[in-house]
């Protein structure tokens, strides 16, 4: 009741100069719609990047032997990795078991250093890279022993294609020279700079043979696509991680994590600046409104209207404009967001193959709804609209009734 007693006169006042009110509300709505859209697009870009990073091969969480990541020695292998693996399976988490070794690949007169992955093909199916081939196939039960799938750039460097026999030369775990012929069965599509330049993926059985690896496991990668966060996975797996260190993608890929946080910070800042600009529109409108109504306020005051009442009325007028604009803008913006969720922007025509922080980027730029960001923007907008209206509201409240009634504005 109290409030409606303020809102109705405020609303009437706003309708007195409909065109001006419309323009101001329009400015607020436009700003808000823009903020919602830009926020959703940046959120979409970050989420796409995170999905790319985690689903391609890294997973949400990885396990390694302590010290492996800082000094990836062949001999720093995980103990009891099978316990962790079983626990992940029980919890419905996809897991891939990997071994890594350095070596030299050669074909014809070309040779290149490679990072050799020993994988269980079946387990890698959960990860996108195993299905992301430019030519040929990934390893499977059907591919014969001695098959290798190469990163795009290293294949290009070796000038090796499907069906070519390349030589792998490594230092085996016993110090001896391991060498074997491998047949190229597939070449990956662009995955990420490092991967493209150096990856040679072979089956764990071939890895064992070439490296005399003694069953050493260097990495377990975990992925869940049911919305469970990396932190949730860690808490589920931690009790089984004896002799292994679990790390989330945020810890494994700080640049991407930082970028995520930076983008959010930037959106809040942009929101603040835009809202401030819209707020100035409101200040202007309110200044004009107060100025026009000085005599009216004088009469009201003379009739016993308190300064507080005038202050509240004027403030509510500003808030009403901001509120209507914010809601309208939010709705329009969200409509645009939905459009961009179903109609992603195709960047491939503009940039071709793109990689960001060394990670191949999905050229389809989809918006992603970010309710928390919308809410924050709305709050900021309303607070600012009200904040900037304090000045005109104070002016109204402080008017001397006699002077005001004689005002000739």
């Amino acid at each position: 009741m109290m409030l409606s007693g303020h809102i109705v006169p405020a609303w009437r006042n706003l309708l007195r100069n409909r065109r001006r009110t419309l323009v101001t509300v329009g400015a607020v709505a436009f700003t808000m719609a823009l903020l919602v859209l830009v926020g959703a697009l940046s959120e979409g870009m970050v989420q796409g990047l995170i999905r790319n990073v985690t689903e391609t091969s890294m997973g949400l969480v990885q396990a390694h032997a302590p010290g492996y990541l800082s000094d990836p020695s062949f001999y720093t292998a995980m103990e009891h990795s099978e316990v962790l693996e079983a626990a992940a399976k029980d919890a419905g988490i996809s897991v891939a078991r990997r071994s890594f070794g350095g070596g030299l690949l050669a074909y014809g007169d070309k040779s290149a250093g490679a990072r050799i992955w020993g994988v269980v093909p079946e387990m890698e199916k959960a990860f996108r890279f195993s299905g992301s081939l430019a030519e040929g196939t990934f390893l499977s039960a059907k591919t014969p022993p001695g098959s290798v799938v190469l990163g795009r750039k290293i294949a290009h460097l070796l000038k090796a294609g499907i069906g070519d026999d390349i030589v792998v030369l490594v230092q085996a775990s016993d110090g001896s020279v391991g060498n074997e012929l491998l047949r190229v069965v597939g070449v990956f599509a662009p995955i990420g700079d490092d991967f493209d330049r150096s990856a040679a993926v072979i089956s764990s059985a071939d890895f064992e043979h070439v490296f005399v690896s003694g069953g050493r496991v260097h990495e377990l990668a975990f992925l869940a696509r049911d919305g469970r966060s990396a932190e949730t996975l860690v808490s589920e797996l931690e009790p089984f991680a004896e002799g292994a260190v679990l790390r989330t993608w945020r810890q494994l890929m700080p640049p991407i994590s930082d970028m995520d946080l930076m983008m959010r910070g930037m959106m809040v800042f942009v929101g603040l600046v835009f809202s401030l600009a819209a707020g100035f529109g409101i200040v202007n409108t309110m200044m004009m409104a107060v100025h026009e109504r000085v005599r009216e306020y004088g009469v009201l005051k003379a009739l016993g209207c308190t300064p507080l009442r005038l202050f509240v009325d004027t403030s509510i007028e500003a808030l009403l404009m901001g509120g209507v604009g914010t809601v309208l803008g939010g709705l329009v913006g969200q409509g645009l967001v939905v459009w961009f969720i179903y109609h992603p922007i195709d960047l491939s025509r503009i940039v071709g193959d793109m990689s960001l922080v060394g990670v191949a980027f999905d050229p389809l730029w989809r918006a992603a709804s970010a309710p928390d960001l919308i809410f924050l923007n709305a709050v900021v907008m309303l607070v600012l609209c009200w904040g900037v209206s304090i000045l005109p509201a104070l002016r109204a409240a402080r008017l001397n009734p006699v002077e005001a009634m004689n005002h000739d504005g």
């Binding site: 040779s111 250093g113 030589v167 230092q171 775990s173 110090g175 001896s176 020279v177 060498n179």
Partner: protein, 252 residues
């Protein structure tokens, strides 16, 4: 002997040694270094040696035959163990090829793999190819040796010599003029590794160290030992010994 080329030093050491001995007409540094640099230029050698690699994770022994000619050419062929027998390394100037008999392929070692270990030892591929001369690539000066019976020489590479070391310190026996140790310091002047020359005895008709040990400073429990079985100076080598064709063949 050469400062950077440890591996070549291993092969050519014995040609260099008499040079040091001959240069022993006083403590003239220039004369000493000159003779070290120049002596094995056109010389050739052939020998059999064994390499023992001791690491935290494995100990292994490899026996190989080696031929060398001058500074630029060498050929090494593994004799033992059987699994690796026939694996050969050819070095001509700055290039290295490996021949792998069980897949019958020759591989050229790319620049990116130069820092990788050679045959599982503490030597790198780079050690095989690095060419430097004390007189041209280093500024050398006498240094106080750790033992009064030795001569000490500290050499700092010129910045444009493309050498990975910050400093190399040689210690040479005063009486025999045979090297005792070479210490390699990294760019921060921290000791990275030391090569020791031991077991002086008759080799190819000369009194020479018959064992060399390379000890990495960060892994004092590890080492690579090279012991000479036999050595012949200036053998008659066929003209195309140091070729890719000969690399692929079984005999010298």
């Amino acid at each position: 002997m050469r400062a950077g080329g440890i591996f070549a030093a291993v092969l050519a050491l014995l040609m260099a040694m008499p040079g040091i001995v001959q240069a022993g007409n006083g403590d003239d540094l220039t004369a000493l270094l000159d003779s070290i640099d120049d002596l094995y230029r056109s010389d050739a050698s052939a020998g059999r040696m064994s390499m023992t690699v001791v690491t935290k994770h494995f100990t292994r022994q490899v026996v190989f035959d080696a031929w060398s000619e001058g500074r630029d050419k060498s050929l090494i062929r593994i004799v033992m163990p059987l699994k690796e027998a026939g694996i050969s390394t050819l070095k001509v100037e700055r290039d290295i090829w490996n021949y792998l008999p069980n897949v019958d392929r020759t591989i050229k070692i790319p620049a990116t793999m130069m820092a990788a270990s050679w045959m599982g030892s503490h030597f790198t591929n780079d050690d095989l190819v690095r060419e430097s001369r004390y007189q041209e690539d280093y500024d050398c000066a006498w240094e106080t040796p750790s033992d009064p019976a030795r001569l000490g020489v500290a050499c700092i590479p010129h910045s444009d010599a493309g050498l990975v070391w910050g400093k190399v310190v040689l210690e040479v026996a005063k009486d025999t003029r045979l090297p005792i140790s070479v210490a390699y310091f990294d760019e921060d002047m921290l000791l990275a590794r030391t090569m020791f020359f031991e077991d002086v005895g008759s080799l190819g008709g000369r009194a020479l160290p018959r064992r060399m040990r390379l000890v990495p400073e960060d892994k004092p429990d590890e080492e690579t030992r090279i012991e000479y079985g036999q050595l012949t100076f200036n053998p008659s080598l066929s003209a195309d010994l140091f070729s890719l064709r000969s690399l692929r063949s079984r005999g010298p």
